[in-house]
Amino acid sequence: MREIIAGLLVFAGALLALLAAVGVLRLPDVFTRMQSSTKASTLGLGLLLGGLVLLHPSTEFVIRAGSIAAFIMLTVPVSAHVIARAAARTGAPLWIGTTVDERPFEERDDGGHGA
């Protein structure tokens, strides 16, 4: 029973990774792709590690899985923020349906003439 639950957790984590990949492939601009990527990858990897710990509940697995989870939870938002800042400052094009652009005029890709 415990093995089946662990297998289902790992399967759900893989499905979330697939969701992140489909989002990165299908969403319209950099910022929406980043949103899909980070959210689904943190939760997906958390589910994978939860399934792993449930499957092998020994000390060496739990310590390593916990450190991987802590490291991913710390670094994925930081790296997403760094890429988002770089993309925004270099004038990455926004989706055509974006309603609010809070960048200063001179940092936009169209020089501030569009929406």
Binding site: A14, V30, S37, F61, I83
Partner: protein, 90 residues
């Protein structure tokens, strides 16, 4: 049943890696490719974690930690490169 679920998880992770690879190839701008490469690092870590769960060997998890570390440093370096390259042009 457990082996079937783990194999299905590995297959799904491989398919999602292929989709991310399509985005890396076709991404219109450099930040798109960097986001896709970052997600590819997370997918590789997930693949290694599922391999550790399937084989029962915890040495895979050390590899996963190292891959996560290198992926993070690489992403930050790419982001700095994007900003600096734009600053030098102006």
């Amino acid at each position: 049943m457990l082996n079937l679920l783990l194999l299905a998880a590995l297959a799904i992770l491989a398919v999602s890696g292929f989709l991310v690879l399509l985005r890396i190839v076709s991404g219109p701008t450099l930040p798109d490719r960097v986001v896709a490469i970052d997600l590819m690092g997370v997918l590789i870590v997930g693949f290694v974690v599922v391999s550790a769960a399937a084989t029962g060997s915890y040495f895979f998890l050390d590899i996963a930690i190292v891959i996560a570390l290198i992926s993070f440093v690489g992403t930050v370096a790419y982001a700095r490169y994007i900003e600096m390259g734009e600053a030098e042009e102006e």
